[in-house]
């Protein structure tokens, strides 16, 4: 299972401990993560299920390419970091 980590800054607003989740794509992983905590999903994804404009996600040290469909591949031992983008100030 992939490891999913959240920016410390998000923890000020909502509980979001690091956790493990299954999935072959980022979309599958996040679906599994946010199914149990939809309010947390609203902090990361917009109403269309796309990555918020001023958020970014890295998988194994590489920034994802597909911010719309979240189709970037995830391996069972991948480490995913969900972070703020500097574009947001």
């Amino acid at each position: 299972m992939a490891t999913v980590n959240f920016t410390q800054n998000l923890k000020r607003h909502i509980e979001c401990p690091s956790l493990y989740a299954n999935g072959e794509t980022l979309h599958q992983v996040l679906t599994n993560v946010f199914r149990a905590n939809p309010k947390l999903g609203c902090y990361v994804l917009d109403n269309q299920g796309q990555l918020r404009k001023h958020m970014t996600i890295a998988i194994d040290g590489k920034t994802i390419i597909d911010r719309i469909r979240l189709s970037d591949k995830v391996n069972p031992d991948s480490e995913i970091f969900i972070m703020q983008a500097l574009s947001g100030g």
Binding site: I14, Q48, R69
Partner: protein
């Protein structure tokens, strides 16, 4: 100490207490775009716009001591088939709408603190009957937005900044939209009519200047004791209606400027209204650097300017559309600026006292009223 007003700023929510001190109330460092509270309702509400994490909606049952996150309004997911290739961006028509801002909040009924209207960017009106645990997009109005391609005024996309619920009939509502003019429902949102007849947009091509769907009202206010009387501070000037928004007349007597964002109407006298003028429209600073308030007491036939207690030297304060409010009595006005100045008047705007020079940029001020 009791709160007499709430102040929503770029860096959190503040309250004005009855000893005229200003105290932080919550959400420090977070933009608070709108707040809703009343004397006769237990629940208070605040709308936030995190820079990174999106729009959030909070409720307090203890006058702001603690806040609980509720659900924010949510636009429906676009069901159109997605392309197979990875996408880094998508055209607007394929992307579907997503909540950008809660710009206006009002109670939907008397004696009920759970039924709410929320006006948003990108142009949707939402209703909640459970304190914001869930929201329903008003589909009939949203269809007009999609068909008429409302455009943005102040933001990239259209937005609803004014919601006026008729004081005697909660199903009769007028809203102000930038940029789609004034819209009215008399059946609680089932059907809508554009009510911008007489408004004029000089900044548009000649054939479009009177088009009701491109008007940019900056703020719509309704006199609670004379609900057929409305004032609008419009991008193009000041407009007044005395027939329930069926028609509007342009007021051209304002001095030093008919441009601004905010307007407040006296709760017991529809002929008395206040405005904060600025240079239109790419400049947006006080005329000649002199920050003043404009007041009419004769329905716009004439205006007086008031500066006692306001900055005596050159000023760059701008008052956003929700940055001016009048209390239940009509005597006290509160005004907050982009420069973080907060002023109070206790004599209908004739003179002012600065309560703070050092607040963050102020988005909205609201007296805690009996409504």
């Amino acid at each position: 100490m009791n709160p007499i007003a709430l102040i929503a700023t770029k860096k959190g929510l503040f309250q004005l207490l009855d000893d005229l001190t200003v105290q932080p109330l919550g959400f420090m460092g977070i933009p608070v775009t709108m707040v809703l509270a009343s004397k006769n309702r237990k629940q208070w509400y605040a709308a936030l716009n995190h820079g990174h994490f999106g729009v959030k909606f909070h409720r307090s049952s203890d006058m702001g001591v603690t806040w609980e996150e509720m659900s924010a309004p949510q636009y429906p997911q676009n069901k159109s088939p997605q392309k197979e290739q990875p996408q880094t961006d998508s055209p607007q028509d394929e992307k579907g709408a997503s909540l950008k801002l809660i710009w206006s909040l009002e109670f939907a009924e008397d004696n009920n603190d759970k039924k709410l209207w929320a006006g948003t960017v990108p142009g949707g009106l939402f209703y909640s009957d459970d304190s914001g645990k869930s929201w329903q997009l008003n589909e009939s109005l949203w269809q007009y937005k999609l068909e008429q391609e409302w455009f943005g005024g102040g933001f990239d996309e259209a937005g609803i900044h004014s919601i006026c619920v008729h004081p005697d009939d909660a199903s009769h509502i007028n809203i102000g939209v930038s940029c789609a003019g004034i819209w009215q429902t008399t059946d609680n949102g089932d059907t809508w009519q554009n009510k911008s007849k007489g408004m004029r947009a000089e900044y548009m091509p000649p054939e479009q200047q009177f088009d009701p769907t491109i008007q940019d009202p900056h703020l719509l206010v309704q006199c609670p004791t004379s609900p057929d009387s409305f004032w609008v501070q419009h991008h193009n000037g000041i407009f007044k209606s005395i027939d329930g928004a069926d028609s509007w007349s342009e007021i051209d007597t304002a001095n030093p400027s008919n441009f601004g964002f905010s307007v407040a109407v006296h709760p017991k006298d529809p002929n008395t209204a206040w405005f904060v003028p600025a240079i239109k429209d790419d400049c947006r600073i006080p005329v000649d650097g002199k920050f003043v308030l404009m007041k009419t007491t004769d329905g716009g036939q004439s205006f007086t300017t008031h500066k006692k207690g306001l900055p005596s030297t050159i000023s760059y304060d701008l008052v956003y559309r929700h940055g001016l409010d009048v209390d239940d009595s009509g005597d006290r006005l509160l005004m907050g600026s982009t420069t973080g100045n907060l002023w109070l008047s206790v004599n209908q705007g004739d003179s002012w006292r600065c309560l703070s020079h050092h607040l963050p940029p102020i988005f909205a001020v609201r007296f805690v009223k009996q409504f």
